[in-house]
């Protein structure tokens, strides 16, 4: 793990702000606010993974039944996370294809959403040491 300092926090918050700016611009410039759903998708994306890994770790605490049930729960969390991340890209594309939003709005919301999700991932990567246990 690289050392996480103040500069990392500042850079990450800048990237997060740019991501939110892009998503809000993609909605507000065209007066059609459905691309904001992308933000909700990406905010929910790490959630199943976190819940399932916590559940699996509590499941394995008693060494009675460390079978494949816990790994099944972990897999469910990963599956849902992969589902939500892909949904964040697919949702603006579907909206643009159905002429609900413009193609420019689609590009901006996809890029903004990826920036937001990248920030979340980078933040958990940098600060996992302190928050774990």
């Amino acid at each position: 793990m690289p050392h996480a300092g103040l500069k990392t926090i500042i850079a990450l918050s800048f990237v997060l702000a740019i991501g939110f700016l892009l998503v809000i611009l993609s909605s507000a410039l065209y007066g059609q606010y459905s691309p904001l759903l992308v933000v909700a998708t990406y905010l929910f994306a790490p959630l199943p993974n976190a819940i399932c890994s916590r559940y699996a770790s509590s499941y394995n605490d008693d060494f009675m039944d460390s079978g494949s049930s816990a790994s099944g729960v972990l897999d469910l969390g990963r599956f849902l996370t992969g589902f939500l991340v892909t949904m964040g890209i697919a949702l603006p594309a579907v909206l643009a294809h159905a002429d609900v939003i413009q193609w420019g709005a689609m590009a901006m919301s996809i890029i903004g959403g990826l920036l937001i999700y990248g920030t979340i991932i980078a933040f958990t990567m940098f600060f996992q040491e302190e928050s774990d246990f």
Binding site: S71, F79, T81, A98
Partner: protein, 166 residues
């Protein structure tokens, strides 16, 4: 790891397995959204009088049910030589349920091709309308691919554990 076979580092089994499960979820989402795209385009930006009706939904519902059934089975139950506490071996139950799952999934794929041919190709529709049928087939294929990827990557882990145990 000093004694590895290739000069470049290969990813470990657990990393491959994690990546497989993530990409399976991604493929599943791609399939679902291909179909939802057809449905939403049919509602909002339709060029013709042909719409996506409940008939188009049936193959995808079958595929998703089949995927749930297939991946809910405990893989250890499938092998006949596995030791069972309850006297007779229960492998046939797992195999029956697995067969049902595969039948649902294959039925979904075949049904999507059936819908494509009977509803869109035989009446001779052109491409913006034909897309509804094509997207249906693509969606069902992607759900099937996602199931295969999930199945294979879950069997990776068993092998890994087996190697650890020995």
């Amino acid at each position: 790891m000093s004694s590895r076979l290739f000069r470049f580092p290969l990813p470990s089994a657990t990393a491959l397995r994690t990546f497989g499960v993530y990409s399976s979820g991604g493929l599943f989402a791609l399939g679902i959204w291909f179909f939802l795209d057809a449905a939403i385009v049919s509602k909002y930006a339709n060029a013709s009088l042909i719409h996506v009706r409940f008939v188009d939904w049936i193959p995808s519902i079958c595929s998703i049910l089949g995927m749930i059934v297939i991946n809910s089975i405990e893989k250890a139950r499938l092998s006949a030589e596995s030791f069972s506490f309850s006297g007779s071996n229960d492998a046939w139950k797992a195999r029956l349920v697995l067969f049902l799952g595969f039948a649902l999934m294959a039925g979904g794929l075949a049904g999507s091709v059936c819908v494509l041919v009977l509803k869109y190709v035989v009446p001779g529709y052109e491409f913006p309308t034909l897309y509804f049928g094509v997207a249906n087939v693509v969606a069902n294929s992607l759900i099937m691919l996602s199931t295969v990827v999930l199945w294979v990557s879950q069997n990776f882990e068993d092998e890994y554990n087996y190697n650890l145990a020995l």
